[in-house]
């Protein structure tokens, strides 16, 4: 009975016990909701499971050979290029706004709120907002008519050459707030006296940005770039909700979802998810290595 009471244990034993006890819950949660599904995904990727049956067969690497031998499955990465290009626009805008708003500006907090707001919205809501926005005679067309650009209106989602630009645009609007808030945080961590010193030297705003802000946030810039690129490769929610991948807006993840839930090929879809995971890891590694080299 004596050992059941924690206060009777030695200090280090107590410490070890408390550490273990407190990390059990987060670890259990992490394992159940992060690692177990991934382990299962790897397992399913070697089967022909249809998502329902209580029986399935192991088929070895058949799913993987199928993915890599059929160009159909990889063709969709071309669409990711649109999101990839949009990434730079998104980061540029975020950096621009973050820099401006880190100086003394009237209504600073109001603008911060406005810029961050889209990121707080639910992706489904954003999908529907932009459906109305891009509709023929919708918000965008009305706006263009109002400012005299009426002759340039397009079928924003109906034209396969423009659809991915439209969708990537919606995606930029949504995710820019996230980049923005991170940049803002990084910029505000730069000590005030550096600015003061530059003031004395007579630096203007551009010089301040070029020589103080940019070098101080390189790390954060790299981090955001990695996040944005893996986001571009796995673009999903905006095109899925708005067009369901039709009219040439299919991305790799939408294709995976279609295979799993429309055609009952959970095994093949799991294999595709594993492939995507590998690609993202690879891209991140390559980026890290090349960026290290610059230093």
């Amino acid at each position: 009975m004596k050992y059941l009471k924690l206060s009777n244990w030695g200090y280090s034993a107590q410490r070890i016990f408390i550490i273990c006890a407190f990390s059990t819950i987060p670890l259990a949660l992490l394992f159940t909701f992060a690692y177990l599904p991934v382990i299962n995904m790897f397992k399913y990727s070697f089967t022909d499971w249809n998502g329902y049956s209580k029986r399935f067969d192991y088929v070895g690497f058949e799913n993987y050979t199928r993915i890599f031998s059929d160009p159909e499955y990889f063709k969709v990465f071309i669409v990711s290029l649109y999101y990839f290009v949009a990434t730079f626009l998104q980061m540029g805008l975020a950096l621009y706004f973050a820099t401006i708003l880190s100086f003394k500006v009237r209504g600073k907090n109001f603008f911060k709120g406005i810029l961050f707001f889209p990121y707080l919205l639910n992706g489904v809501a954003i999908g529907f907002i932009f459906l109305f926005f891009f509709k023929p005679d919708g918000t965008l067309d009305m706006l263009m008519h109002a400012v005299g650009l009426g002759q340039y209106t397009q079928l924003w989602l109906g034209n396969p050459n423009i659809i991915n630009v439209s969708l990537a645009g919606a995606s930029v609007w949504r995710y820019m707030g996230f980049n923005f808030i991170i940049f803002l945080g990084a910029i505000s961590s730069i000590p005030k006296d550096v600015y003061e010193a530059s003031d004395i030297d007579g630096a203007n705003r551009w010089q301040r940005f070029r020589h103080i802000i940019l070098p101080s946030i390189t790390r954060i810039l790299q981090l955001n770039l990695i996040l944005a690129i893996s986001g571009a490769i796995s673009a999903f929610d905006i095109p899925y909700i708005m067009t369901d991948g039709s009219n040439g807006s299919m991305t790799f993840v939408i294709q995976t979802v279609h295979l799993a839930f429309k055609y009952g090929k959970l095994g093949l879809a799991s294999a595709m998810a594993v492939v995507l995971l590998m690609i993202v890891i690879l891209v991140t590694l390559v980026q890290r290595v090349t960026m290290k080299g610059e230093e």
């Binding site: 006890a21 079928l155 109906g158 039709s246 279609h258 009952g264």
Partner: protein
Amino acid sequence: MRKNKGWMMLLTMLLITSLLAACSSGGGSSQAGEEISTDPADIKGEITVLTQRTDIVDTVFKDYAAEFNKEYPDVKVNFQALADYEGQVKIRMSTKDYGDVLMIPTSVPIADIPDFFEPLGTYDELKDKYTAIEERMVDGQVYGIPTVITFSGIIYNKQVFKDAGIMEVPKTPEQFQAALQLIKDNTDAVPLYTNYASGWALTQWESDLPTVAGSVDYVNVDQPNTDENFVPGQPHYELYKVLYDAAKNGLIEKDPTTTDWESSKADLAKGKIATMALGSWAITQIQGMTDTPDNIGFLPFPTNASEVVVPLSADYNIGMNVNSENKPAAKAWIDWFLAKSNYAVEQGGGMDADKNAELPPILDQYKDVKFSTLTPAKEGQEGLVDKIDNEGEIGLWQPDFKKRIIEAGIGNRKESYDDIMKDLNDKWVKARAELTK
């Protein structure tokens, strides 16, 4: 404080164990069917009925339960309506808790049905009583009975047809295209609304396949045994040619990618849309949106076949959870619901699965049309069409290739109609060879 630490430890332990317990849920195994007593006085218990009808679960269904209790006073019936029925039931079916009586999700592969559902009787027992029970049949056991029997074709606005100067109901694809062209020339209505964006509405076209084939055998008997499914002259080719031609000739909505199903119903009712390819279940919904419901008409899908066959098909099938603890009560509810509720006609916009049911009045003008259910697949070929379909990623009942056809029709894709059909046929041939080797 010391005391608190002990409590903390206990709480932590409790949390962990409850967490682990919550995560483990075993898969159910099918049990042997029990002897079912049919005397209402013997049947008691509480059952839960899952339904997709969120709109009437608190009104009409409550009345059903009250009626039911007059015959079976000891059975308590609870209802749960699921908004995204197919998706939510699918997830619940990985546990044992998915109600006692439910609609069988259409995406469950036929072969897996016995793992989840209790047989309701053998085919030989039930075939004289109910229509279309072959669809959810495994080894001669029937697992689901249709709640509503619907029929498919074109739903149109009679007033728009009149305004466009269409004197006779179009019967062949050529006449239909001509009629759509007349509507475009003479009225402001959209001749054929595809409902491209909703996706599922495009799958309605597939149910018109038997009409184009002119035979109830084509879908389940002929189709799985042919390599020429999407070649010119074959039903699939002719069916979707109607859609392609309409898209190509500018007879569909201006921008299909931004269509909206809910407003399309009102637009058809008001005469802003002339035609849509849908099932009969939509008729009551559309009629409910106008003061002149007689304007809404139904016409069989245009066909060159010598005989006009309109397929009768089953809406959701009602079935029983194999893990149910109150099987006699659940069975009693199913029987009562099918025989006495009149759900099919009043709420489902179709007819009873009962063999003696009569055709609804909207079909009075089609005395010469044959309404019939599809011939079931040959023995050993049950579900083969679905298997080929999934293996080849063709998607007969998915919107994907219908979207491709529309996109090609309006010039968004470089491929022609024949390119798409050839691609689909190649996939069909390859998948069929894979499965029948």
